[in-house]
Symmetry: C2
Subunit: 160 residues, 2 copies
């Protein structure tokens, strides 16, 4: 397989951008992710691939819960701020206000248009990421007319 | 959980559109799918959620292989033609020409800009779909400058 063609072809897949937050005890992690999709209607499930060895991966494994915060189309700067290490000060993560998710306590970022609270049901450890299959246990919609941030509109890639 | 809010929030996830083809012996199935993402760089893996009980699901389970054909932004009509049942006539599926994938023999749709040939490594049966985690074993790029079809540009939804 030609590695350059593989890189170019896999970069033709389409993604949104999200901030994944997770909490275990006093520890909190938040990071921008894009390898995300729904995986079932009934019950509602998501599938996500998260890099092994990352802090976010560790806290998902320990808590078995997370919140997927959906970025708005005007929040590329917010996406960027979650590429760096997580800093929690008071009720802010990397400068953004949060409150605990109602079911899991994982952080809900209140300035993002929508959020999905999840409990992990299974995990496939293969390659350099883990595929988590998780049940949607609560949702919130703060900006009903918001359009989501699409990876194509950022000029960024994660894939290939 | 409010079911209407759940539907609206899950419909904020961003997807591409693809034609998934699979073959077992003389049997061929092709269908338009969108619950797809990369799941690892090394080795390159994809994750897909495929509806249980569908013909495509059955043939993936039996062959353990498939091709993900990436639709171009000008191919909404092609996406639509694979919503219906698969009809194979000569070297055409639902009217579109194909050739066997080099590694798996699963159909490569030659009018689509790019394709990814995969071998299934694991499956998570949960909810009404199965999550397949599959290794990318070969790729092809026919239209290097093509832009992919994005679900938002079709007005369609599959999710919620």
């Amino acid at each position: 397989m030609d590695q350059e063609v593989k890189r170019r072809v896999l970069r033709l897949l389409t993604y949104g951008l999200y901030v994944l937050t997770t909490r275990h005890g006093d520890e909190i992690s938040a990071s921008t992710v894009n390898w995300v999709s729904q995986a079932s209607f009934t019950p509602p499930l998501l599938m996500l691939a998260i890099k092994r060895g990352s802090r976010t991966h560790e806290l998902i494994e320990r808590s078995n819960t997370f919140v997927l915060n959906i970025l708005g189309s005007d929040q590329k700067d917010v996406a960027q701020s979650f590429f760096k290490e997580t800093t929690v000060e008071g009720n802010r993560i990397n400068g953004l206000p949060f409150e605990p998710g109602p079911i899991t306590g994982a952080p809900v970022l209140t300035e993002l248009p929508a959020w999905v609270e999840c409990k992990v049901r299974s995990a496939v450890k293969d390659g350099d990421h883990t595929v988590f299959v998780a049940e949607v246990v609560e949702v919130g919609l703060r900006r009903p007319n918001a359009k989501p941030l699409v990876m194509w509109d950022t000029g960024w890639f994660y894939g290939g």
